[in-house]
Amino acid sequence: TSTFDYSSYHTLDEIYNFMDLLVAENPNLVSKLEIGRSTENRPLYVLKFSKGGSNRPAFWIDTGIHSREWVTQASGVWFAKKIVQDHENDQVLASLLDTMDIFLEIVTNPDGFAFTHTKNRMWRKTRSKHSGSICVGVDPNRNWDAGFGGSGASSNPCSETYHGPYANSEPEVKAIVDFVKSHGNIKAFVSIHSYSQLLLYPYGYTRTPVPDQKELHEISEKAVAALTSLYGTQYKYGSIITTIYQASGGTIDWTYDQGIKYSFTFELRDTGRYGFLLPAKQIIPAAEETWLALQVIMQHTLDNPY
């Protein structure tokens, strides 16, 4: 993986090959779990970074749930390599891995991602087909059992924000739900999107502030300061509903309601000059600055066990 080109976008096969290579190079740190299968029967792979021990508290990161947000899967690949490279010499990472595991799902929506490479670069949703509609796909960030079906999602199967016929109807979502429930000890959950340059925390489906709003806001402030310190990239932060809009059935609303206090969503670069078509030369800078923010959240999670 030292010859892999992290400053370019890659196909699904190239990313899956990268994951196998990273595991093969680091058998004592990295393993690959299959947590389920997508609608089109593609494996849903999660990389586990662990120094051993069973069912330790864990830190979850996912990228690519909206398939056209290519900078996120590319950042996920970079994060995977970064964890391997720095797991002994980086104080935050080393101390985190002494007591916690890290789970990283790089291609959370493989059917949609494959579709963006072959048929439609602008595809966002899953590729599920539900009876009665000619339209394909469900928005996997509206399909979670948190305010499911409320305003902030569409009941129209042709809409980009279609919530699906019922909560967890999408196997890509159900696989994570089952994994989180069976693991039972995930302490932080970060779901990464693009674009808009935002760091968000729950809720999106209701204006009721989360009980931990003050703490999550303070963490966000520190994380954004760290991110901005590298290249000056400006981020806003706050709860989903106050910072962008009402969105029901969202990932981190569900994870927070599962008791995972440190639940965050990133919206990476940029603010719209290129949008989803962010030039590949911005992959590494975007990943580097995001990594600094992730480390703030990691350190806080480590320092504040619950």
Partner: protein, 99 residues
């Protein structure tokens, strides 16, 4: 494969409730095939929408008729896609095929 020749991404920044309402109504005009990259969220917040070539003129006329200003973020989506593809091909030729 779907191509996006002539598609543009417009940015609209609603400055009044009335404008916000008008932009939100666009989301229901399915025949325009608009793809909201950033949905209408609130006053002063940008709305980015990818507009297929056939809908460009009707939409721009509609916006101008309602006094809603807009800017063009991406002149031609297909052009950026082709740059992305070229870059990917160049990279895969550079790198060792991970097999």
């Amino acid at each position: 494969t779907e191509t996006f020749v002539g598609h543009q991404v417009l940015r609209i920044i609603p400055t009044s409730d009335e404008e916000l309402q008008k932009v939100q109504e666009l989301q229901d005009l399915e025949d325009l095939q608009l793809d909201f990259w950033l949905e209408p969220r609130g006053l002063g917040l940008p709305v980015d929408v990818r507009v297929p070539f056939p809908s460009l003129q009707p939409l721009k006329v509609h916006l101008e008729a309602n006094g809603i200003s807009y800017s063009i973020m991406i002149e031609d989506v297909q052009e950026l896609l082709e740059q992305e593809q070229t870059e990917m091909l160049r990279s895969s030729r550079r790198g060792l095929p991970l097999s």
